[in-house]
Symmetry: none
Subunit: 420 residues, 2 copies
């Protein structure tokens, strides 16, 4: 069963607001095992709206629309849907009563134009809106091939739309779902290599398998595998997913850092907590980004103690007692000294230092390096990396490289089996 | 001139990631005076992709697509576009050379499959991608009515897409714009009051004016006025915009902190630089977010020296020499002491301290307070605020409150005319 999600409104189409409804509805449909094939966005204009509904009905068994159900002149969803299916708009007495009651409950007089919200394409069922004036529409629309499409039109206010979804729409669609099949999504996350390098390590055809479906994409320099398994129940989905996850882990080793919502900072904090160890950070180039991430891990304060943000040589001297001379140089020795001084100053098991960033190289220049250092009970590991990449992504990448160095240092310590 | 924006990728269509590209591209097109009529979203599947391109070409003079230009097997934009316009894919030697150079600069071997990214529908022009491997496509596609549509296909990585837009696409489309009527958008930004409080201070009908159009919305607790003026040239747009900006500033006073791309941290750094003064920060609750913002202002290192991120009482002792006893309490006196100690330790003109955050109150509880302190040559200002609001927005709001306290302290010092 395939679905199309339609988002309606000038403020969405012109980019004035960020549309989060389409994403949310798509997630809900996919969780029901209904595959979303198309998204459509269209403004408050009748002709494009009719065209959009007609096409959606022709190509999807389920059409969910959001927006355009308000009482004002530019709310055209009712009219457009009626046109698209060739029906009249008729007033629904029960819907009108509900709208009137809502105004009475709020002790406000109902403006005449709100009566419009009780008009429905003939043959529609009404989707109750417990907390708003606009009821939704539930309509079986005839398709050119003789079958029907289920069209659900909901308001654009996210809170009302979501409440109506959980209140009734979800159950309506669940009952439509043939065979009761579920779809479950699993994410496996990697860091430390590019998308094509990672793909090159996989068996041929790995990303073309269809049961489960396996996709790969990059999000802020993290490479994410997305595995979508369909099954009669959770257990079947898990049975299909598990060997795929195992294959990815086996091929990619330590490039894989986690699953689901895991971020590198979560993994670092978990590793430290499992050994009752602590960390502090001293950041120049990343300017607090690493601290912010470690500090955002829920319950992470037993592992992350704090740190220093250095934006001047004076700050290194003031906060860590390091002389500016040795510190201003963004070099290997200075970064190593910073990590060691930070570990000592904060009295932690580990300390991470990020050097100052060099100027970004022009496209035809060789990038200059920056340094990361992880100081721990077993000594200091320093990593040199080229300061290159997209400017908007570079700080995120450096920050993730820093967290990844800590992760790999902790894994190596565990493998040595020493006191780490 | 009308446009359609197409977003491509399974991770978008299934709702696994939130698509911000469509909004961004729509804003850019509207800024150029090109009206967006349709959004389309489609997964990594050839037939729906071809259908989507064909329809977009038939109904819009400008088609901008994002996504599906990567090197992997599920990146089908090149092939789909070639199918939609009935052309072959041919290899472009110059594009291949650029991709090879990029890998060489990064000192990585180019996987064979990246050669795919140098394939283009015959007759395409190449859109340079200064910092990524996927060049974009610029193609004149024949329409059923004999005219042509301008199709631009860009990568889905937001940073690359945006850079390519500003690097060349914007100018290509600007040259297409018929009639030469411009639309210019101006943003005026406020912080420190809610949207309805701000609206209540404006003259009646202020937000219903149509030439220029004035809108207001909230973005991450910043309230933004958006003024859209149409005119024959820049001067006419400016003439229409200027009195609206003046009226907002006159009514709202210090609630207005900037215009355009200004963020609070830019304004703080500018104010400090204009007086040759410096600042350091000590953050507990915001965990490095304030430092990260101040450290991100280009050229800001003459004003922002660095700071301390505190995630444990030990960190306050280690980094600022404050005893844990006085510091663990998230109270007025401890926050004031932290600001004073930070100013002294870093030797700066100003220091900002953010207290530890209290537990978030339940919906029926009174929120607990947190504290901000700004220490400067004229003494310390402490601000108590309720720790309440939407959890996803709370840290951003606290961070902006902290920066705003510094801004207002600097403005007050300037007004006193003293040595500040």
């Amino acid at each position: 069963m395939h679905a199309e999600v339609i988002s309606i409104g000038d403020e969405v189409i012109s980019g004035q607001i960020l549309d989060t409804n389409v994403q949310w509805l798509s997630q809900q449909l996919e969780e029901l095992g209904i595959r979303v094939l198309y998204h459509s966005g269209v403004g408050d204009e009748l002709e494009p709206l009719v065209e959009t509904f007609s096409r959606a009905i022709a190509r999807a068994e389920v059409v969910v629309a959001t927006g355009g159900l308000g009482p004002t002149a530019d709310d055209l969803t009712r009219e457009a849907l009626a046109n698209a299916v060739g029906r009249r708009l008729v007033r629904d007495a029960e819907a009108l009563r509900q709208i009137q009651q809502l105004f009475a409950r709020r002790k406000r007089e109902m403006p005449a134009r709100n009566e419009l919200q009780a008009m429905f394409p003939e043959g529609s069922r009404i989707v109750r809106n417990p907390n708003g004036t606009a009821p939704g529409i539930d309509l079986d629309a005839p398709r050119p091939d003789g079958a029907t499409s289920r069209v659900i039109a909901l308001p654009g206010v996210p809170a009302e739309m979501k409440e109506m979804w959980h209140d009734s729409v979800e159950e309506l669609l669940r009952r439509m779902r043939p065979g009761g099949r579920l779809i479950r999504h699993t994410r496996v996350k990697c860091f430390g290599a590019g998308e094509s390098q990672i793909e090159a390590r996989l068996p041929d055809g790995f990303l073309r398998q269809t049961d489960p479906v396996v996709g790969i994409n990059a999000s802020q320099t993290t490479i994410i595998f997305r595995i979508a398994a369909a099954g009669a129940d959770e257990a079947e989905c898990r049975r299909k997913t598990q060997p795929v996850v195992a294959a990815i882990r086996q091929r990619l080793g330590d490039l894989v850092f986690g699953e689901g919502d895991d971020e590198l900072e979560d993994v670092v904090v978990r590793l430290l907590q499992s050994r009752k160890q602590t960390i502090a950070v001293a950041e120049w180039g990343t300017a607090g980004t690493v601290a912010e991430r470690l500090g955002s891990v829920a319950g992470g304060e037993t592992a992350f103690c704090g740190g220093v943000v250095v934006a001047s040589p004076g700050a290194l001297r003031a906060a860590l007692g390091l002389e500016a001379g040795e510190a201003t140089a963004a070099d290997r020795a200075a970064t190593e000294a910073t990590a060691v001084a930070c570990r000592k100053r904060f009295g932690t098991d580990y300390a991470l230092a990020v050097s100052r960033f060099p100027p970004l190289a022009a496209a035809d220049e060789t990038p200059r390096p920056f340094y990361l250092a992880a100081a721990g009970p077993a000594g200091v590991t320093v990593k040199e990396l080229p300061y290159a990449g997209h400017p908007a992504m570079l700080r995120v990448w450096c920050c993730k490289q820093a967290l990844n160095l800590v992760r790999l240092t902790l894994l190596a310590a565990a493998r040595l089996g020493g006191p780490s």
